[in-house]
């Protein structure tokens, strides 16, 4: 009993404070999003969000209770169970917004993909903490395999945005786990280059006034295949050189070739897999005025809403873009826009600072932890929150493409809120016990 009490007294108050503050801001904004221009409240979303927040806080408290030494050995089972649930959802789930991503009874449903992130964090932490003496290469490949299963299932729902979140989780965790930096750099470079190659043909076609004479080499068949083939040839030669002479420049040539060829291949695959509306989102990300009434509408309205907020905002319930319904999805994807419109830079800055505070506390907890498993769990949660914030806030300001990833603690929706509160609960429990042996 005394240890339970100790858990609650040793808890990280900064994180709790930031989470509570964000949730209150979120509920107020969701309430505001439900009010029309005439001042009539037309949506009961805020009531549901209050209920979810209350239940979520209970979940968070429960998650702090078990000692991580106890549940680390069950990680694999939790992960396996979520894979099964994801597979079930894939085939028998409910279709919401075009993706078969929900399961539930009647009006109540959850999105298992949100919780699968946490299950994946747990199992990755267990594997990485137990495999410290293995080679970096092997650890990377196995870790990749662990995230690819849920990523594949979620992609097939299809929910592109949610499946992306697994990659930053992986990067944060293998970074903390001490994998060779070259591999982490490899993933980052490949990701960036893949994105660049994917938007390249769109950029040339829609943004550039006249097509260049050479860029088509990177995307038009068969030239792109020749290019990829040539790169692979150089790769093979360099790999042979490295094996024979052990000169490090051979290694870096092979490394660069692999990043290049891999990204080229991935971008060609992306153009086959991405739906037309997703391609359109990439185009309007580069220039929303190409389709101002269609795909570019959301971005333009969001930027206008934020920009018109000024230093201190238009005041609570006074936003024009939001209340006249110019701003779409104001309670979910674009919740930040309504906050920034009504509370101005001051409000937006406070939200940013609260997110930074949570991140900073997570980093501090990792440094103070002696247990490798626990520190990896915290790193995974940190990566997850980091990426959601990066993408959603960036999207609202028009500097990230639209992917439909919610802003944690603020966006309307039970599943993502519960999932992140659960994750925060784990972090709080770990931090409260860190000085016990």
């Amino acid at each position: 009993m005394s240890s339970l009490k100790k858990t609650f007294t040793d808890v990280d108050l900064a994180i709790i404070g930031a989470v509570l503050a964000l949730m209150v801001i979120g509920i107020l904004s969701i309430y505001s999003a439900g009010v029309t221009a005439e001042g009539v409240l037309v949506s009961k979303e805020y009531v549901k969000q209050i209920a979810w927040a209350a239940l979520g806080l209970v979940l968070m408290a429960l998650a702090t209770l078990p000692d991580h030494q106890r549940y680390r050995d069950y990680s694999v089972f939790v992960y396996a169970a979520f894979l099964l649930i994801l597979a079930y959802t894939r085939f028998f789930g409910r279709v919401v917004n075009g993706a078969r991503s929900w399961i539930g009874v009647g009006e109540f449903g959850i999105q298992p993909s949100e919780f699968a992130k946490i299950a994946t964090i747990l199992v990755l932490a267990q594997y990485l903490s137990a495999s410290e003496h293995e080679s970096s290469m092997r650890r990377l490949v196995v870790s990749f395999g662990i995230i690819l299963l849920p990523v594949g299932l979620i992609l097939s729902q299809p929910d592109f945005g949610t499946s992306l979140v697994f990659f930053p989780i992986l990067i944060f965790m293998i970074f903390v786990a001490g994998l060779d930096r070259r591999y982490i750099l490899f993933i980052l470079l490949s990701g960036l280059l893949t994105f660049a190659f994917t938007v390249l043909p769109l950029w040339e076609e829609y943004i550039l006034p006249a097509p260049t004479k050479f860029l088509f080499l990177f995307y038009r068949a068969p030239y792109a295949y020749y290019l990829a083939g040539a790169t692979l040839l150089i790769l093979a030669l360099a790999a042979w050189g490295y094996v024979s002479y052990k000169k490090s420049y051979y290694f870096w040539i092979a490394y660069a070739c692999l990043v290049f060829a891999g990204s080229l291949g991935a971008s060609m695959l992306a153009h086959k897999v991405l739906k037309e509306y997703q391609i359109m989102r990439l185009i309007v990300f580069m220039d929303p005025s190409i389709d101002p009434r269609g795909s570019g509408w959301n971005i333009l309205q969001s930027i206008t809403a934020i920009g018109s907020g000024g230093m201190f905002g238009k005041g609570f319930l006074q936003g024009t873009q939001s209340h006249y319904r110019y701003l779409p999805q104001q309670s979910t994807d674009f919740i930040f826009s309504i906050i920034a419109e009504e509370w101005g830079f001051a409000g937006g800055f406070v939200v940013f600072a609260l997110f930074y505070l949570i991140q900073r506390r997570c980093a501090a907890i990792i440094v103070s932890l002696r247990d490798r498993y626990a520190s990896l769990v915290v790193a995974g949660v940190m990566g997850m929150i980091f990426f959601h914030f990066l993408i959603n806030a960036g999207m609202a300001m028009g500097i990230m493409p639209i992917t439909g990833i919610p802003l944690f603690f603020l966006s309307y929706g039970g599943s993502s809120l519960w999932a992140v509160l659960l994750a925060v609960g784990l972090v709080l429990g770990i931090s409260a016990r860190r000085y016990r042996s």
């Binding site: 009539v40 944060f172 009434r293 991140q359 980093a363």
Partner: protein, 622 residues
């Protein structure tokens, strides 16, 4: 490999500091950008948000017009008309019921219908919702005069299709309607949007993409409440009108064929075999496509759908029937080409033959046709001959092969939606379907076009086209060319496209043409095919469908029988057994040939053939 993790204890700590630095960088960069957006450029966005927003309005494109092959008078036009819109959020809640009632009354639509189109869930929307289409100028003027009594109501031009030629051509031209949710799902990627008008049948459906053109847009600047702000000239992207469609249909022939068929359930195909152009395509009963525009369209459509005579079905391509004796043409081709039975050798017809435990009766009962060779058997349409030679000499496999050679059981690929394939049975099919062996009796049924075989009138026309073209069939088509709506210049002309090229020899086809000619000169139709205007060759068919004194009546023919193929037309008339028995198919064909080649009107043709006693003068029933 492991040189980077030389100090394993210090590494995680340093790395975590790096992660913290990354989130600090993100925090700073985002804050700076937010500051730039809100404070540095704040005024710019504030102006944009509080005073102006761009709105666009669609200017509908004119749908292309449809002409017959002479490109003289349009068959379909667009009439000016309006659609009335309501912006629900522009209608104050207190006045909602009152305005709804007034709207329903002014527009002449039921109040429930209006409430269904604007459900309470839409009340806060700023997007205009179309509440009535095909509204006349007078009604719109009434609303415009008292606009203050209709808050939130606006209107836009929405041209309505006006079908000038409403007779049997309606089956070819089809009609248009508002796009449904299901259609939108399928066609969204082709640029269709909700509220679009789309072709639902016939040419309107087949060539919708070329007919519809491209909608234009007018951008105007409005304040946040949707009120127009005067800020210089508005930008207009003009609409592109759809292309004009010129059909291969010959209006004169179409009208003659329509009258020759009269009010009999059935169909007529007139085809130009040298190109595949369809000159006339009649299916009775037809419908008036103008019923689908305007108010009450749903009821009109429901009535047509429930009509037991299925007026929405184009019987030339969407109905299949037993080919009956017209199928003997296929057997004759097979017997000649395969040398399965000497054409000069005679078979005795005594009016009946016993096979298995069944008696098969020829259509001439005792004493029968007597001794007949192949030419005589085709001319007299003797069942006994084709039963015996088909079963014992040609055999089922070769009959099936030749049926397929002539294109039966396959789509002709005509450019009209909804064509069906018909059916050619095989022994394997029968065993799979009924678990029964294919028997000699089945072959006998097959040989005279009865039993399981089903063909469409257009397929029968293609069979005749193959015979006159020495084995080549061109894709039947009703589109002749597309023309630019403004200049009238031809954009695309449809060229003949070979769809069948038979390996049957020219000699066989020549012999077959001689035999088909004797059907008219000395065979079954020598009395009904009395026209002197042109030499006709062809084959009759009388299909038993289980009614005691009624049969499907076929006549598949071409003329001039000895002329060059460029001058020829193929005429197929099919009159269903549901009509009173008149053996009408050859008579109708007779009138069509007379009118077509003597350049007479329908009534002149009837009179000059002396058929007035059969057809009372009548006006066309719409």
């Amino acid at each position: 490999m492991n040189h980077s993790s030389a100090n394993p204890e210090a590494s995680p700590k340093r790395r975590t500091e790096l992660l913290a630095l990354a989130s600090l960088a993100l925090f700073l960069v985002y804050s700076a950008y937010l500051f730039y957006l809100q404070v540095v450029k704040g005024n710019e966005y504030r102006n944009k948000a509080t005073t102006i927003a761009r709105q666009s309005r669609i200017i509908p494109a004119q749908r292309g017009e449809i002409y017959d092959r002479d490109y003289q008078l349009p068959l379909v036009l667009n009439t000016d008309s309006f659609a009335v819109d309501l912006v629900p959020a522009g209608l104050p809640a207190a006045r909602r019921d009152e305005v709804f009632e007034r709207l329903a009354q002014t527009l002449g639509i039921p109040l429930e219908e209006l409430r269904r189109r604007v459900p309470p869930a839409y009340y806060h929307l700023y997007q205009p919702i179309e509440i009535a289409g095909a509204v006349g100028y007078g009604t719109v003027a009434k609303i415009a005069e008292r606009l203050d009594e209709f808050p939130g109501v606006s209107w836009h031009a929405k041209p309505v299709r006006n079908y000038l030629e409403t007779g049997s051509l309606s089956q070819v031209i089809g009609y248009v309607g508002d796009i449904t949710k299901d259609e939108l799902k399928l066609l969204y990627n082709q640029g269709y949007q909700s509220g679009d008008v789309i072709g639902k049948a016939g040419i309107e459906k087949q060539y919708d993409l070329v007919l519809r053109g491209k909608d234009g847009r007018e951008y105007r600047v409005v304040d946040v409440r949707g009120k127009s702000v005067d800020s210089g000239p508005s930008t207009v992207v003009p609409p592109t009108m759809g292309s004009n469609v010129v059909l291969t249909i010959d209006s004169r022939l179409q009208r003659i064929a329509e009258k020759a068929l009269g009010q009999r359930m059935g169909s007529v195909v007139v085809l130009k075999p040298a190109t595949g152009e369809v000159l006339a395509l009649v299916s009775y009963p037809w419908y008036n496509p103008n019923l689908f525009t305007g108010l009450g369209a749903g009821n009109a459509y429901a009535r047509l759908l429930a009509d037991p005579n299925t007026p929405l079905i184009n019987r030339t391509i969407q109905s299949s029937y037993p080919p009956a004796s017209t199928f003997k043409t296929v057997l004759t081709a097979g017997i000649l080409e395969e040398d399965a039975f000497p054409p000069d050798k005679k078979v005795l017809c005594q009016g009946a033959v016993t096979y298995g435990d069944r008696v098969f009766n020829c259509h001439i009962k005792r004493p029968g046709h007597g001794w007949l060779d192949l030419e005589g058997a085709l001319a007299q349409s003797c069942d006994i001959y084709f039963w015996q030679v088909g079963r014992d000499n040609l055999g089922v496999e070769r009959i099936v092969t030749y049926a397929k050679e002539f294109g039966f059981g396959k789509l002709t690929g005509i450019d009209l939606p909804g064509e069906i394939e018909g059916f050619v049975p095989t022994p394997q099919w029968k065993e799979r379907r009924f678990h029964e062996k294919w028997l000699g009796g089945d072959t006998m049924n097959l040989a005279i076009g009865q039993g399981y075989t089903l063909v469409t009138p257009l397929q029968v026309a293609d069979m005749m086209a193959m015979i006159v073209n020495d084995g080549v069939v061109y894709r039947p088509h009703v589109l002749k060319e597309l023309r630019d709506p403004a200049s009238g210049a031809v954009i695309r002309r449809v060229e003949p496209e070979t769809i069948l090229r038979s390996r049957i020899s020219r000699e066989t086809f020549a012999e077959l043409r001689r035999d088909l000619r004797s059907v008219v000169t000395s065979g079954t139709v020598r009395f009904p095919m009395s026209t002197k205007a042109v030499e006709v060759a062809g084959k009759t068919g009388t299909a038993e469908v289980g009614l005691k004194d009624r049969w499907h009546s076929w006549f598949a023919s071409y003329g001039p029988a000895s002329g060059p193929v460029e001058d020829m037309i193929v005429v197929v008339v099919m009159v269903e057994a549901s009509n009173a028995w008149e053996w009408w198919a050859p008579y109708a064909s007779n009138i069509i040939y007379q009118a077509a080649f003597a350049n007479q009107s329908y009534d002149e043709a009837v009179d000059s053939l002396g058929l007035r006693y059969l057809v009372p003068r009548q006006e066309r029933q719409e």
